[in-house]
Symmetry: C2
Subunit: 131 residues, 2 copies
């Protein structure tokens, strides 16, 4: 199961980057739920989620950095390149356990850069792209 | 290995929440590296990382939401309660594979709330705490 989940996540991002939306859609459970906790947005169903992806301005490239997968789910960390900027995104995946193996849930975080609070300079080195 | 990594991450957060810094320190490799890619900050070594934790204002409570673990590493999603606010944090863990099983790396993201861009209201439901 863990290995299958890993492969599904790799395939999900491969097809995303290739804009192969037909085959991408085949990975999604019809009732997939996509959540963005930072905005409170929820998109319900494969049809809407596919529209969300295809309507989004096509100006990005996704590179997978890390995938961690077990029997209960999987997590990916990607670098999303948009113009001169590269932003990380972290996605938590759940899967249908009744046999189809389709993606039933994606909860995604888009952590943006911020200035560190003062007072810890004596403990840290600082350089962009350290992650 | 996956199960061991899962237990280590659960124990890491249990000891963090309990402020049991002595036992917490025993989970860390002496050369552990803590990275915050959003600020570009890196803290090198268990001693500094421990000071970072103990010097941080003690006003928070951490609750584990999800742990995904495999032979290569683990990821946790926690809710960090600070006063009236609850922020998610996502931490990617790596471990010493030479036998000690200690934590060698933590790369952590603190995704903050943001306003969604316009143009996708026809696809989304919106409510805070949806994740």
């Amino acid at each position: 199961m863990a290995q299958r989940h890993r492969e599904l996540v790799q395939e999900y991002w491969r097809l995303t980057e290739a804009r192969q939306w037909g085959r991408y859609a085949e990975l999604l459970h019809p009732d997939v739920v996509y959540r963005l906790p930072q905005t409170g947005e929820t998109i319900r169903g494969a049809e809407r989620f596919l529209r969300f992806n295809t309507e989004y301005p096509d100006i990005w490239h996704a590179t997978v950095r890390t995938v961690v997968a077990d029997a209960g789910g999987a997590v990916s960390r990607i670098d999303m390149e948009v113009g001169a900027e590269t932003l990380p995104a972290v996605s938590f995946f759940t899967f249908d356990t009744t046999g189809t193996g389709l993606i039933t849930g994606i909860t995604e975080f888009w952590p943006e850069p911020y200035e560190p609070p003062p007072g810890r300079e004596h403990l840290v080195d600082r350089s962009p792209g350290n992650g």
